[in-house]
Symmetry: C2
DNA sequence: TCCATAATAGGAACACGTTTCACTTCTTCG
DNA sequence: CGAAGAAGTGAAACGTGTTCCTATTATGGA
């Protein structure tokens, strides 16, 4: 239970274990990408990753843990990619919107995957706290760094704003994955919130 | 499928049907209140409401529909109660915070119920759109009326702000029901967002 | 190298949401 | 009233997440 479920930290364990873990997460992403949350069936993941069902459960104690861990891995990739990108917006608001649009576009480019990962995130309880916090920190970090490029320390107000933006982002994403709003509406919703929050 | 799942509107149907519907929702609230989302088992609801499982599914096509409908009924009660209450806050921000605190306190007084209803809300897809929209409208209405007591028409900016507040509220509530944050943190989070959004 | 231990495979079994179906009871309307 | 159709009953059955168990295989230290 201890190390196997942590997220972005370096894993302990043998090479074989790291490879199994990777195969499992790859299979998860693949299935999610094809058919969303419902298509990520534990038996199917185990088959595709070529591990036994029991082994899958040893690595990830539930479907939710599995999906949130996969989400963490994807988010980490996104954040790394963003780090290398030069933002063009002239104001904090514009840069934040830029980052969120880039991220959203990435997600909306793979609706099934996004649906699966978001659903898992929303359903996760406190037993998934570690993984959830990782994702939350990626989010906050992305937003604050867009607000003040180059800076590495941020005051409470900035972090508070970033959190609120994260909340709106999650709610909007939820509306989108559940089919209650379109991609355009989602973008609009986030943009409105950011402009309200960063209107100095 | 047509009328049986609508929410706050007056129901068609015979007296017997209205009573069955009420018994079902009562049983749902009761079970949710005792043991949360997991305790609302369709067989248990059917038993306690004294209807057959098939009948339950005739009235509510899924557990999610059932719970979101129950949420709607509870929300309607809350909104009615709030209408009669005189708000004491001197500014829009203070009144909105007052309303949200009252509402949250009501919810947090029954954690299991809140967990069940929030989970259902977050998991609902577009087939539950009608019920979801009802709840969203109650929320927006409560916030805008707290911003401008007495007024009945609200401009786009106000509605946009109310929506953002609703998003934050939902995210914060999600954090709370999933055990990721405490009641105090949840209140804090909402208060920060409201002050940021209504700081004129 | 060999043994103790941990990890994995393979698969049965269970829980609960959901579907289905044959039968019975109620409602409505001519 | 009496028949046709709608609504309800009761129970079986299915799908998928989760648990459990035994036999087999890999690993790491003496």
């Amino acid at each position: 239970m201890s190390t196997a479920h942590s997220l972005a930290t370096e894993e302990l364990g043998s090479t074989a274990q790291r490879e199994r873990r990777k195969r499992i997460l790859d299979a998860t992403i693949d299935l999610a990408s094809q058919g969303g949350f419902d298509a990520v069936q534990m038996r199917a993941v185990a088959d595709q990753a070529e591990v036994a069902l029991g082994t899958l459960y040893r690595y990830f104690p539930s479907k939710i843990h599995l999906l949130v861990s996969a989400l963490g891995r994807e988010f980490e990739k996104t954040e790394t990619a963003l780090r290398e990108r030069q933002l063009t917006g002239q104001t904090p608001a514009e840069r934040v919107i830029e980052v969120l649009k880039l991220t959203s576009r990435g997600l909306q480019g793979d609706p099934h995957l996004t649906e699966a990962l978001t659903r898992a995130f929303m359903f996760a309880d406190s037993s998934v706290q570690t993984e959830i916090n990782q994702v939350g920190m990626f989010m906050t970090s992305m937003v604050t760094r867009a607000m003040h490029p180059g800076r590495t320390e941020f005051d409470d107000q900035d972090v508070a704003i970033a959190r609120v933006i994260g909340d709106v982002w999650l709610s909007a994403l939820m509306g989108w994955v559940t089919g209650r709003s379109t991609a355009a509406e989602t973008g609009q919703q986030i943009e409105v919130a950011v402009r309200l929050l960063l209107r100095d």
